[in-house]
Amino acid sequence: MNVIEVQGLTKSFGTRKVVDDVSLTVEKGEIAGFLGPNGSGKTTCIRMMCGLLTPDAGHGRVLGHDILREQRQIKLQVGYMTQKFSFYEDLSIRENLNFVAGLYGLPPDAVRDTLEDLGLTSRRDQLAGSLSGGWKQRLALAACIMHKPQLLMLDEPTAGVDPKARREFWDEIHELSARGLTVLVSTHYMDEAERCHRINYIAYGRLVAHGTVGQVIRDAGLATYTVETDRPGLVARQLAGAPGVDQVAPFGTTLHVTGTDPAALEAALREAGVAWQPSETSLEDVFIRLMEQSQDNMT
């Protein structure tokens, strides 16, 4: 049985359709990435799946429970980490954990163990509001796995966190997943997508790609070439609009040039008279392409 299985989720705020016909499947034990630019509807989707928003249309099951009728059971077995830190800033670390433990009916040593695991035992009386971004994020994660949920939904857990803390955070997620936890994590960092078993890409409320990273890149059918030049700005301008060229992205003195038709692309590069060589298409190239495509579809 799949841990998440939802079909046709749709949600509008006012007249704006924010999530449009999104279907999602997440298997047990996997780390599913939920990607998309800001405002694409990731948070709204996650809220619908954990019973915090009622979908306008669509249905499905999370951990075998109907998302429309069995929100209570879902809440008991899901750990949801909100995008914005939403524990009590005027409560200390320990008081926050006590509160969570009380609501889930956990024994008192659950809090003690969690504090120890976090390495926060000595700072337990510090107010949560005074913690740095990285520590807030660790506290939030610890608080939402305290009741031993079977599914974790993490909404942009690493936004505004430094790279080292980000690395540690992902190590921890992999550890949790190795213990059998299923994780759905939303992000808009490309490098984090590569750390997921499978990814789902959502743009303007629509799910436009899903699968492993390799599958998503292959399905996009893009060809990418790199151009070495000492005048990247000039060459980029020259290439940008040429037939066959979809994207030109400078990386230092290297340009990534992407297009759907390799022959046309090569012709354009020859025309520009620059030295080029074939290269791997990156996930980022694919996502930018997908985003532009769905923007075109919208208008």
């Binding site: 009622t54 929100q71 009380g102």
Partner: protein, 372 residues
Amino acid sequence: MSWFSLRRLRALLSKEIIQMRRDRVTFAMMLGVPLMQLLLFGYAINNYPKHLPAALVAPTQDRFTRAMVSALELTGYYDFTHTTASAAEADSLIARGEVAFVVTIPSDFGQRVERGDNPQILIEADATDPSVASGAISTLGKVAEGALSREIGRDAIPAPVNIVVHRRYNPEGITQYNIIPGLMGVILQMILVMMTSMALTRESERGTMENLLAMPATPLEIMLGKIIPYMCVGAVQVAVVLLVARGLFGVPFVGSFGLLAGGIFAFVLSMVILGYLISTMARTQMQAMQLAFFFFLPSLMLSGFMFPFRGMPGWAQMLGECFPLTHFLRLIRGVMLKGANHADVAQPIAALAVFVLIFGALALSRFRQTLD
């Protein structure tokens, strides 16, 4: 998962209490504001109303009695809403606050006027609100003489009418006696409704609502977790106000303490639940505040705190019945100043209980378990 668990409630309660304690400014305000208002209004307020309901006890209906009654009505101070022959019934009317005066014209009044033998009228005034009594009583002597001389004829000079005035419950006519217990209701209403009306909006505005809703707390538990701490605050405020009322203003306390405690409990409960109800309707703290004020003003004006309740026009009285404060004022004035018994306060207590049930049911049904 059950709809109520004591453990979850305890978790919610301890969280609320910690937050309340940490919010120093608000906490100080909750204790400081009542004291300040009590002193300010306690010394400041005074008023002089007209057209108050009165009961007439007149066993005989001779022409002198009728002349007396119509003369009294002409003064504009008395509206005879009840006529009875039984002194006991009149007594209970004034104890319940349904009339502000009982005018007794004895059966031998007419005979004595004709004999020129010191006729007597007894006026009992509910002086818990001293302003009610003062104007109505001060002009009486002249009114009576005028009425009788017209009735007897031009030449005869009637014997002076002996008017016996009993200021009941507050013989010296001290305004504070009436103001202070009422002020307690007003202060409790203001602080409690205002504080609890922020209960949920604060969570929404700080973004903690999403987390709270994602965890397994039921609407009932959340409501109780929010209102119980404020009931304790209310209890402290009550103690402060009562002590000041006694110590500083010397307000008498003649009734049963148990009744008073029960009445205050019912009122405080209705106020915190009302505040919570407002908080389920408002989206922001600003809106909550506006809704609370929208409620305060009519409640203050129509409850009988600002103006004697029975002195207001009928429609205003009907509106006034819709405010818990109205019933609380009757109750607390009755118990503190008149020594009202169980039967006398049964009605206000029942009314407060109805408010609690209605507000509670509305709040639970309004509570949004999702972020929609």
